[in-house]
């Protein structure tokens, strides 16, 4: 029988799970499906001293770093495709405010996998013999990885230790009230992040009736058993995009990137778009609905329909 318990909660209630000093991982990559509305809400609330356990959630990392909310970062790559470095994040590192622990993408994924699978370590064939495993960041280098021989005598691998985030924040396409979550398009590292994290908070574009999910169960990226709370946040990934709904807002990203040259202009940007907005709805209204609707994708192309090219 269907469970009568709903996991749909208001944004602030869901984010009460994120406390100062906790470790956080976030979904998304490049300019796609990053949980930006939740990130803005955390910044508005003044979250502090976070440890990121990140893979490719560049915008989340940059915004949190710009807000002075990041203390440490385990990660593999934060950069803005088509723009360049995440300026506030790198400045935090270059001034010593943010301590880092580098990985390759797969190395980071393996550490999350180890946690998610309940294993003491995960072997991989990358990172070996490089400074990633030789040069210590804030972590005891011997506790990060070891080059080990297989007990079966069939080779040597790098073993990495588990990383278990306190909270994963994820933005997806749709969910039902029970907390089954679906996503279209590329899934970044969401499955590993959700399995690893102690608490999983998901924001979605749409809440759907319970009978929608079982029609295409293969689209379900997170079953309800992995999800602690669901927040309904249409355009909740803005200014990044959500596959099947809307593209990233290139103009907005460009505006941020220009502002991020300096901390004071970044602060002004945040004042306008985060601190001066009472909630997600006022943020969307400040952007204007018409601007958001212009980001809608075409059903066949999957992107904003621009002039069609026939080659």
């Amino acid at each position: 029988m269907r469970s009568g318990i709903s996991k749909i909660v208001p944004l602030e209630a869901a984010l009460s799970a994120v406390e100062d000093g906790m470790s956080l991982t976030a979904g998304g990559f490049a300019h796609s499906h990053q949980p930006m509305a939740m990130t803005r809400a955390l910044i508005r609330r003044g979250v502090r001293r976070l440890t990121l356990m990140g893979v490719a959630e560049c915008w989340v990392a940059e915004f949190l770093a710009a807000a002075g909310a990041v203390e440490k970062a385990y990660f593999s790559n934060f950069m803005f495709e088509g723009f360049g470095r995440c300026r506030r994040f790198v400045e935090g590192v270059e001034t010593g405010r943010i301590a880092t622990e580098d990985h390759s993408h797969f190395g980071m994924i393996c550490r999350l996998q180890a946690a998610g699978l309940g294993l003491p370590f995960m072997p991989l064939r990358a990172m070996t013999a490089t400074d990633i495993v030789e040069v210590a960041g804030f972590e005891d280098i011997t506790q990060k990885s070891r080059f080990i021989a297989s007990p079966f005598g069939n080779g040597r691998v790098t073993a990495v230790s588990p990383l278990k985030p306190d909270v994963a924040i994820i933005h997806a396409a749709r969910a039902d009230a029970a907390g089954n979550v679906q996503l279209f398009g590329a899934t970044s590292v969401i499955e590993e992040q959700a399995r690893a994290a102690s608490t999983v908070i998901v924001s979605v574009e749409e809440i759907v009736e319970a009978d929608v999910i079982p029609r295409q169960p293969e689209l379900t990226i997170l079953p309800a058993l992995l999800v602690d709370a669901v927040v309904h946040l249409p355009f909740g990934a803005h200014p990044t995009g959500v596959f099947g709904y809307y593209e990233h807002d290139a103009a907005y990203l460009g505006e941020y990137y220009a502002a991020s040259r300096r901390q004071d202009s970044t602060d002004a940007f945040f004042r306008r778009w985060i601190h001066d907005q009472a909630d997600h709805w006022s943020y969307l209204d400040a952007l204007l609905v018409s601007r958001l609707l212009a980001l809608r994708v075409d059903p066949a192309l999957g992107t904003i329909m621009t002039g069609q090219r026939h080659v």
Binding site: N77, R85, A126, G155
Partner: protein, 257 residues
């Protein structure tokens, strides 16, 4: 329009690195253009895997990156980053392409920091998939401008393994891939001496001298015995680059008319 730009030479040189039937791991930029050029010409059976988890897409227009939804068009399989990287570790990827901030004579790369690791002078984006590709792809190609800022005697940080310290070092580290096969620059195409694993000049673009190449490297480059002038792009390749694959010159800028 018939004058050929350095970008076009680089694109064509990169395209040549594909063998028909290769499964290639592709990132943003010039490698994307080279991959589509190869597929449209000598290597139609090349299959592409993108870091974002998109497999073998057939985009109608050039994507602005591996996260661009344009890249998903026509893809028969869209998964996640973990899936794409698992294919790499599983030995399914024949060739990868990498850019870099620094490269040394053994083809090791740095995309992490300039200066010390803690509180660096310049914090770079980090390895991302670069280390994974260099460690685990069958072979990899580096695309990089040839100058002393990029070609350095010693890396600030070894993010991504080339031949590490030289012969047999990759074997000692149990890295499954065979390492860098080519370095494509704006002046010349470089390769590696099979014995010493040190970088050497193999092809020069028309009008480029060996002296110019040596002058712009921060370390001593070897020279291949059979050094040759790089093959000029064919008319068909130029047509594809300029009118079909990258008509807006996003990654491959045509020469000024």
């Amino acid at each position: 329009m018939s004058e050929i730009s350095r970008d076009e030479f680089m694109a064509v040189a990169a395209a040549r690195e594909f063998r028909d039937g290769d499964v290639a791991f592709i990132g943003t930029g010039l490698p994307m253009v080279a991959a589509y050029l190869a597929k449209a010409t000598h290597a139609p059976r090349v299959k592409l895997v993108f870091e974002s988890g998109i497999i073998d897409a057939a985009p109608r227009e050039l994507a602005s990156g591996v996260g661009d939804y344009r890249l998903a068009y026509g893809s028969p399989k869209i998964a996640g980053m973990s899936y794409a990287l698992s294919l790499l570790q599983g030995g399914r990827i024949d060739i990868g392409f990498l850019g870099t901030a620094e490269i040394d004579r053994f083809g090791n790369l740095n995309s992490t920091v300039i200066g010390p690791y803690r509180q660096p002078r310049v914090r770079l984006p980090g390895s991302g998939g670069a280390n994974d590709i260099a460690s685990m792809a069958g072979r990899f190609v580096v695309i990089c401008r040839l100058d002393r800022r990029h070609f350095v005697e010693k890396l600030s940080y070894l993010t991504t393994p080339g031949f590490l310290s030289g012969p047999r070092a990759r074997e000692a580290a149990a890295l499954p891939g065979s390492g860098p096969s080519r370095v494509i620059t704006d002046l010349a195409v470089l390769g590696f001496d099979p014995e010493t694993k040190m970088m050497r000049v193999e092809e020069l673009y028309p009008g480029v001298t060996l002296e110019q190449v040596h002058e712009r490297s921060g370390f001593a480059l070897g020279v291949a015995d059979d050094i040759a002038e790089a093959l000029a792009p064919t008319d068909r390749q130029l047509h594809l680059l300029r009118h079909v694959i990258d008509p807006d010159g996003r990654y491959v800028v045509a020469a000024n008319v």
